[in-house]
Amino acid sequence: MILNRDLVIIGAGPSGLCAAKMAAEAGQKVLLIDRNPQLGGQLIKQTHMFFGSEKQYAKTRGFDIAKKLIDDVKKYPDLVEIWDNSTVVGLYSDKVLTVLTGETYRKVQAKAIIVATGASEKVLAFENNDLPGIYGAGAVQTLMNVYGVKPGEKIVMVGSGNIGLIVSYQLMQAGVKVLAVIEAAKVIGGYKVHASKLRRLGVDIITSCTIKKAIGKDKVEKIVTVRLNEKWEEIPGTEKEYEVDAVCIAVGLSPLTNLLAMIGCELKYVGELGGLVPVLSKDYETTIEGVYACGDASGIEEASSAMVEGYITGLAAAKKLGKVHPQYDELMVDLRKQLDILRSGPFGEKIRKGLAKLEGVKEVC
């Protein structure tokens, strides 16, 4: 049996939830699918308060933002159907999705699809990188902030982007000793305010430094770091050992575009946006009509941008299906302005450069 649904949104993180809310507000029926038992995506692991503007819930903790966004979609019980614990395992060019919920395999025929699958973590290639105790930052946040489990007692953080800095701080709050944060680049990647918080707690942030190898029998016991020169080559003799029982890798994210690739959406490699990203219209429609992508799946940015992109995509997809939001024009103008603001300033430079590389197909600020 094939179930018929008009608009299917894959992923109920910040972007998918916002898309669902806007589409429902326009009167559009939505099926929202998420593979996790809890909706909210990465927001549910974020115990810190967000920056940015009031419109994207600045000064609110991530998990509270998730609650708000979930409440928003639950206001439309007649319009928004939710399948949690459900993974979209296949996407086909006739807009049929196959979905696995436990042991149940279902097929859904959609009229339009929004892919808001988020991102996956990048990994590093170093000796013994498969030893137990070596985690991605996402796993550390899940263990600590969702399940209340400490990943270790003594840890080195690899990567000083905002995720690396924030997770280091959260580890310290949980009573885990962060021996150092190391960063391969010459400068700290994340916001200075996060870095300063760590330094005040006495955590060393060492730039031009990377992990050379992990050592241990059944699990990681030690790691060796090494300094890098201008050409990113190891400088012999600068090795340093740390005794650890865990290592956290926070070296960036890449968009989860496997479903988009599967149905043949045009993808382009843009390093600044995290890797392969879909080519999009200014309404976030991919090169396949009626298939949209937003949030980290369309290029790595902050949760705030993912929310705004979700709103825009929800409005656009609903309009495509004949449900025009009563304030469509005003909302679109305002949302695009919000995105411009979020991407302005020095921290938005990388995003702006990445979007420019997509050659104006995705709206460039």
Binding site: E103, Y105, K107, F126, M262
Partner: protein
């Protein structure tokens, strides 16, 4: 550096040494590496290793990473029991 202790594809337990050996034998296309080593064919379907492999190919051929073509992505994104597919197809007519 011990290349045999650097895991590139953790699902299929493929090392950097194995990747380099094949690159040197002329297998510089990710589809070829995939067929010979099963990289990207495990539970995560290449989500974890693909960028690492792209980088190795890019370094070996001395071309920008943007130009290294990635694997063809096909359904399914994860393991599904045949029985589940069978049951799902039962009432389809």
């Amino acid at each position: 550096m011990s290349k045999k202790d650097i895991i590139i594809c953790r699902c299929e337990d493929v090392t950097l040494e194995e990747i380099h050996q094949l690159l040197e034998r002329g297998y510089t296309n990710i589809e070829e590496l995939k067929r010979l080593l099963r990289v990207g064919m495990g539970p995560c379907q290449g989500t974890t290793c693909m960028q690492l492999i792209q980088r190795e190919v890019s370094k070996f051929l001395n071309i920008p990473i943007e130009e290294v073509k990635t694997q063809k992505v096909r359904p399914l994104t994860m393991g599904v029991k045949l029985n589940a597919i069978k049951e799902g197809a039962c009432d389809e007519s």
